[in-house]
Symmetry: C2
Subunit: 240 residues, 2 copies
């Protein structure tokens, strides 16, 4: 049986304009790998309702889980929740459970729960809330789509809230071996190894360091004995 | 007239597994913004020929320019060139012009041009080569798709080779103002500003620093006088 699959949708003009360097993809990728959920595709789209809804539909149909990042704050450019509701064809409005969280929070902090902040309580019908211990305003899950904030500290805490609720798979065993030779010299024996161990994923990631060409060879698979066997043969082939 | 559009396709299991943090997206986004080319969508897919070909077709149809990153080295997991050829339905083989570059390079360096390295001379029919001053093995352009290496130093030099050949647009003027107030307090006046300046893109990027909530407000547009006017009103609204 193969592992559950996942896709990610990053939403935000600031990523596409080069103003901000996304870090949420790297974080989510690492967390999913630990759980044995295969991240298969990532898309980044701009703050455009139609582009967001189309991507949500495509990814939700294609993968077991979808995670989104960005666009759920109080300002006019935060349009993710409404776009996700449109993608699922469900109504969206300020919801009592989300409003109650915000009311309690702003009473505690002495800020005013104005109309802008109330936007953060807009949650599609049938969605369940995702806990946000950092700044209270919740994310939400609807169908197989998990909608989370873009600010990295908030995104990461929401990921930590959601992941335990998902069905994981068999985590991959991964072994890495650095070889200080050009990839062109490694490639022949490596291709033969990949053919003989076609149940494993064998990747070559070249680098150049202090004028020396080399590559990190990464062998990954769910059966750790097979990973060990492939790694042993690699070491023997290259006299390591 | 609106600016030319672009999409990017990042290819590689190492990004999706969280092993490697992609930096090419951030680099390309910044370079395209300088040229007035709007990066509208980015996708990241795994080392899977069908996924690569499907993404190439979708992005090539949808945008004026497509840039790919990764999978054009000498090892068995470098399958981008063949997948792009499949997407365009054109033959691919070792091509004389690319082979000549490699022959000269390996004669100079004293390494052997073996079969693995010759894979890097596999170029689809009708493609034109992209210069690689860093490590010689070329990228290529076919139709509106520009195929480049994943190693950041090589990717960046190939981007520098390709961009001068493209039609640019009107570069955006961008002004940023930091406001040390919670986004919930900023949101109301900001939404009104965005409505009154609907020809501009006005974004709010929240942060928390030393316990203080604030946001960077970014106003962008092709007409710098309009950007200035919007920024003046923002400053007045918030007594800055």
């Amino acid at each position: 049986m193969s592992n559950p699959t996942a896709a990610m949708l990053v939403i935000g003009d600031e990523i596409l304009s080069g103003r901000t360097r996304d870090s949420n993809m790297f974080h989510l990728a690492g967390e999913l790998t630990k759980l044995g959920i295969d991240l298969v595709e990532v898309r980044v789209v701009s703050d455009d309702p139609d582009a967001i809804a189309a991507a949500i539909r495509a990814l939700s149909d294609g993968y077991d889980n979808v995670f989104t990042s960005g666009g759920i704050g109080p300002t006019h450019d935060d349009i993710t929740a409404d776009s996700v509701a449109a993608a699922f064809g469900v109504p969206i409005d300020v919801r009592d459970d989300a409003r109650a969280l915000l009311v309690a929070h702003y009473e505690r902090t002495g800020s005013k729960l104005n109309n802008a902040r109330l936007r953060m309580a807009r949650i599609p019908d049938t969605a369940t809330l995702i806990d946000n211990p950092v700044s209270v305003a919740p994310g939400f899950s609807i169908g197989n789509v998990h909608v989370m904030a873009g600010v990295p500290a908030v995104f990461e805490t929401m990921v930590a809230s959601v992941l335990p609720t998902l069905t994981g798979g068999v985590p991959l065993t991964s072994k890495t071996q650095r070889i200080d030779r050009g990839e062109g010299d490694i490639a022949g024996p490596l291709a033969k190894l990949a053919t003989d161990f076609s149940d494993l994923s064998i990747g070559s990631y070249p680098f150049r360091q202090n004028g020396i060409y080399g590559a990190n060879i990464v062998i990954r698979g769910t059966d750790s004995a097979r990973v060990d066997a492939a790694m042993s043969r690699l070491m023997k082939e290259f006299d390591l």
